[in-house]
Amino acid sequence: MTPAEKLQVEGCALRRGTADDAVGTLVPGYVARPADADALARIMAVSGRRGLTVVARGHGTAMDWGGVPRSADLVVDTGGLSWIDHIAGDLVVEVGAGTPVADLFAVLEAAGQRLSVDPVREGGTVGGMVATGVSGPRRLLTGALRDLVIGMTVVRADGVVARSGGRVVKNVAGYDLAKLHTGGLGTLGVIASVAFRLHPLPPALRVVTIPLASRGHAERITAALRATTVVPAAVELHWPSRLPPPPSTDASGATQPTRLPPPPSTDASGATQPTRLPPPPSTDASGATQPTRLPPPPPTDADRTAPAPPSPAVPHHGPCLRVVLEGTPEGLEARTATVLSVLRGAAPREGAAPPGPQVDRELPAGWGLLPSEGTVVRVSVPPAESAEAAEALGALAGRAHGTDAVVTGSVPRGALFVSFAPGAPAGAVADTVAGARSRPGWSATLLRAEPHVHAAGVDPWGEIPGLPLMRAVRDSFDPGRRLAPGRFADGA
């Protein structure tokens, strides 16, 4: 038998790997595409018996997340596991891992429901979203992605299919193994399907965008907001490393605000001079949303039902804070007014006043998305230190190296992302990561690093508390360390 024949299992298309399938620089020997969970189990069992290393892939939008896999004999494409079982009356959905996130969101939206998470990548599959496990800005009311997963079916490295949780929101029977796989980067098993709890789509929302004058200004606003009872869905910081960038001379970002421009050179090593980040998403001139200037006139009945009035987009490229409120139109009037009055009380004390806040009725284009290229460092800090961290990380990432970077993230959750322009020198990344790790209570991991950053030896994980336990878990689920070896800090 040829090696390919040995991998042939029922219900699973098999082909040779090509350069397009490469995981980093590794071209897999084979790509398998199981048609369903049973076929997935069969191919996993067979590859387990043959001792092959396996990397799962959805749409391949995050193959470069985590550490660089050392080996990838077989890529398992989950695209065949695409199905949606929406039980609308229960506010629950179960989804095959290969289902496109966009399909899921469309089905739910049509039913007036949603999975309450802002994806951080465009495109991609549900399995990929869960395996990378990162939550976008709107996580203050309904929690992070991990809080929305109520059940999961996973195929273990040895091909055993294991289910935990279920299809009901309230359930404490058995260990919550789905928590381990959420954010597990596919190193503890291949996700076959996920059950989520859902929420109703809010009738309306408001986005208050507040240009920031300084770190102190940000801190005063967030402290004052905390004291209110307006219950925002998101308080999202946007803090570019260069303050302030020049006004809208940068046309490249206008149409694709969330994508960084491609690296200026084709040099695969990526060691090039940095490019500038585009302006923050909401302020682009694409006209997708029409911000209004505030303060608004006192609410009237007519005002409540009126569509968002058109007004010129006011670009500002400096740091800003976005407060998202969700609820009924009536409730939002009062809550928005509270936010605006808080802002007046927390006005900047230093320097020139930035432009006043804006209120929009829609989320800005590209909301919550991380740049699709370049290195991204995830930094977790005690929430009260978020603004301080943004300032410090921005300085480390940017000014010291002349690099462009932007710090974004949820202030009340201390969940920050430092996004470097493509080609940013490894030294800038290394300094940022080391700076963050030197602070007590802060952690920094490389969510995604460019090859030259990995090549320079920047440790993607640092010292993770509990690492020996994590390795023990890894060893029990994947004793041969065959699932994306090297992606997690598995100490090989």
Binding site: I87, G89, D90, L91, G112, G133, A144, R146, D147, R156, V160, V161, A162, R163, S164, G166, R167, V168, V169, K170, N171, V172, A173, G174, Y175, D176, L177, K179, L180, T182, G183, P200, R226, T229, V231, G327, T328, E330, G331, E333, A334, R335, S380, V381, P382, P383, R413, G414, S443, I464, P465, G466, L469, M470, A472, V473, S476, F477, F488, A489
Partner: protein
């Protein structure tokens, strides 16, 4: 039932440990006296009993670690225990093991308003966290009805919920950091003030692990800003079906109440007798709905919920926003368990969950079961999330009644599983439901749970014989309770 022979002496293997335990925990931190050990023989599920070999009462995480290390070295089992209010015999002691009680670890280490979290020792009572946070305008959201007594460590182990978990989630959604002593005696810090700890989400997997992965010695929990406004509504219906329709239409309208609770005629009758809660006359079902949040949102939602209850056929709806009026509405609901305890010599409480859409069907089937067996069943439940707490009533002096009640109770759990639900929504598996796990999960699922357990506890010394079925355990019967729970009787806990 597990009733072990009365243990009077500490087993020999343990006797050798006692001097070392005294070195670790001090003289008064080790209980060997038979009568004192016996006070720990059960948790809240009182008919499972086993006198612990020895009891330790450590005061620090280091002491816990040293005790567990000793157990690990000697291959002696240990069982963690908080306040002992658990309802699945999860804290049932091991006759040849060490019971590690956290009741002397009761410090609230910090209320950190800036970071919206509290750092506490495991023995701290749930409600004490809210009490400490309240002056700052905050509270601790998970609110099991045992919250005056139950410990935060126990809540972590059981992933406890409360009446308000419909909107605010369970313990797991509120734990940011955990220090744990692993079954090998190592003290490990996971997470902390910063959410989103890097690496695998071990916090998420530890919560709900029922003491089988180690002992939580320090817990960082989220504090939640107290809502601007809270309104409670009581709506009465002439049938359970109509009440169920109201629940579905509220959910379908996109309203997320903080709590949505239902009682049937038998439960209402019992509550009226016990506490004269003065619910609308002639109600075959009452629905209690609580809404909270920004005042303007609550007002808008309230109007909607009142309208929907009317459309579903409610013949009376009362609303209350003051604390006293609200308490009056809750009184009947909160007293229901105790009240039912008073109208029946003995009863079994189930904790099954069904998908919300299956509620009407499952409730009808429960009625049929009750009618065909002649065993009365009172229904009191968390309607918003489909968590049933049917109380199966019987007279334990009547021959065969207990068996028939157990049959009905088991059939109810089967109904839950049949409808894609769960055998436990909040009380945990413990000893009580370990043998029911194979009804909900297949052998591979269970083997995978066990694989995970052994990655923490290769020697199987952490709360053995809990959570997963073992041959030794299974074949035994689920629990029967008599009268009112002592905690409820003494006014220290409500039961939902």
């Amino acid at each position: 039932m597990t009733e072990t022979a009365p243990a009077t002496r500490t087993p020999a293997a343990l006797a050798a440990l006692v001097p070392v335990l005294r070195d670790i925990c001090g003289e008064d931190g080790v209980l060997t006296d038979a009568s004192r050990r016996r006070t720990y023989e059960s948790d809240g599920l009182t008919h499972h009993r086993s006198v612990p070999g020895v009891v330790v009462l450590p005061t620090t995480a280091e002491q816990v670690a040293a005790v567990v290390r000793l157990c690990s070295d000697r291959g002696v089992p240990f069982v963690p225990r908080g306040a002992g209010t658990g309802l699945s015999a999860g804290a049932l002691p091991h006759a040849e093991g060490v019971l590690v009680v956290t009741s002397r670890m009761r410090r609230i280490i910090e209320i950190d308003v800036d970071n919206e979290c509290a750092v506490v020792e495991p023995g701290v009572a749930n409600l004490d966290v809210t009490r400490a946070a309240a002056p700052h305008g905050y509270y601790y959201a998970p609110d099991p009805s045992s919250q005056q007594v139950c410990s935060v460590g126990g809540n972590v182990a059981e992933n406890s919920g409360g009446a308000h978990c419909l909107k605010y989630g369970f313990t797991v959604n509120h734990v940011r950091g955990l220090d744990i002593v692993t079954p090998s005696g190592e003290l490990v810090s996971l997470g902390g003030r910063s959410p989103d700890a890097p690496g695998y989400d071990l916090i998420g997997a530890f919560v709900g692990s029922e003491g089988t992965l180690g002992i939580a010695t320090r817990i960082t929990v989220n504090l939640t800003r107290a809502p601007q406004k809270t309104v409670t509504l009581l709506s009465a219906f002439t049938s359970m079906d109509a009440g169920g329709r109201a629940v579905s239409s509220v959910i379908a309208a996109g309203v997320l109440p903080s709590a949505m609770e239902m009682m049937d005629a038998l439960a209402i009758e019992a509550a009226e007798k016990a506490v004269a809660c003065d619910y609308p006359q002639g109600a075959a079902a009452v629905l209690v709905v609580e809404l909270d949040g920004p005042a303007a949102e609550v007002d808008a939602q309230l109007a909607e919920v009142v309208r929907l209850c009317g459309e579903a056929g409610s013949f009376e709806t009362r609303t209350a926003s003051g604390p006293e009026e609200r308490a009056r509405i809750w009184k009947g609901r909160k007293s229901a368990f105790a009240a039912v305890g008073r109208i029946s010599p003995a009863y079994i409480v189930q904790d099954g969950v069904v998908p919300r859409t299956a509620l009407p069907e499952v409730l009808r089937r429960i009625t049929e079961l009750s009618e065909s067996s002649g065993i009365r069943v009172a229904n009191v439940f968390h309607a918003g999330d489909g968590n049933l707490h049917p109380l199966v009533l019987f007279d334990d002096t009547e021959p065969g009644a207990a068996d028939r009640a157990e049959e009905v109770s088991g059939a109810i759990l089967d109904l839950c599983i049949e409808h894609g639900g769960s055998i436990t929504g909040e009380h945990g598996v413990g000893v009580d439901k370990a043998c029911k796990m194979p009804r909900m999960y297949g052998p591979d699922d269970l083997a995978t749970f066990d694989l995970f357990r052994r990655s923490f506890d290769p020697d199987g010394i952490a709360n053995p014989d809990k959570l997963l079925p073992t041959p030794r355990l299974c074949g035994e019967r689920p629990g029967v309770r008599r009268g009112v729970h002592p905690l409820v009787e003494s006014g220290r806990a409500d039961q939902f």
